[in-house]
Symmetry: C2
Subunit: 222 residues, 2 copies
Amino acid sequence: MGERQEVKLLGTWYSPVVARAKIALRLKSVDYDYFEEDLVKSELLLKSNPVHKKVPVLIHNNKPILESLNIVEYIDETWNASGPSILPSHPHDRSQARFWSAFVDDKWFPTLIATTITKSENAKAKGMDEVGEGLLLLEDAFISISKGKRFFGGEVIGFMDICLGSFLVILKAREKLNGENILDKSKTPSLCKWANEFLADDTVKNVVPEIDRVVKFMREFN
Amino acid sequence: MGERQEVKLLGTWYSPVVARAKIALRLKSVDYDYFEEDLVKSELLLKSNPVHKKVPVLIHNNKPILESLNIVEYIDETWNASGPSILPSHPHDRSQARFWSAFVDDKWFPTLIATTITKSENAKAKGMDEVGEGLLLLEDAFISISKGKRFFGGEVIGFMDICLGSFLVILKAREKLNGENILDKSKTPSLCKWANEFLADDTVKNVVPEIDRVVKFMREFN
């Protein structure tokens, strides 16, 4: 794209959904200015996202784009000539990536968060069972979609990798904080291997926060 | 597409999200076999959508595609040479269509449904206030996106029209059943005009259920 690009990203350092935008921008080699936001006080955030008041917000040539996966699709479509394609090219593969991403965002991750918040041991145990069942479904999905390659997206990180992978730092931090074993090698071996590949990838490790820093941050809330 | 196409749609007649798939298939002039499903007993449904066990399911050449808006995108991408484009072509317009569709599906419609289910008059009143505030946001979004044209999609029905419009029959049925006035001409005049245009459109009126039939169906649940 020949025209002058002004790209801003509003985020908070610990947010996994902000990491999604950072990973996508890096995959497409897009230069941008990053603004660490105070979620309570930021006027720029309120002005850019008056409906949900949430990060991330991508501002491209003064136009705000909202919601993390929506931002990832926008980045993929806008800088389509740069870097790898984030969504697969075939409509059926795209629909699978979108389906499993919705499963992660609407069902799996909210259940995991609910087990952190609840005070009831019963509800926590039931929730963790559901989280484990979700991981088994995701293990099967990974095997079926990746077809022996490193990522959901094949040999490079794609849409579903970004979606699920963005939560790995929080998952690992929680495992460390509570001595839990959420991603279990004996139950979901392919997903465990994928998680290590994802976190070790150059694109990812330079933009996601360090696990120990997140552990410290989570400890302050406990 | 030259190859032989086998397209099946699993649905239930009263489901607004099934209507989305029907509208998209009609916009693209796709022939398909429709299967009215028993949500409790259908083996085809269980086999095609083991994760959520929900309709609609589109089965294209034996491959299932799940989740209504995902199905609409799939139809748009697969039959891209046939009929109007359902999603806008510019990435920013696409991101707006996706953002407002997510607002409708994740926030506005669930709030409306919650006001039907709750027994608390307080919760109902609070929920209906939120539904009204959501409609004011959608009125502004319509004015900004449609730019004086008939639909969110311009002169033809697009992604956001299908998303929000699919709920109009239920909305009108509930207004009739309870003597309510949810879509209020004095508050959201542009949205009211849009709603009439949408329901009168040939593509829509031939595939959505009659309001009176839905009223009768809802009465059985009261």
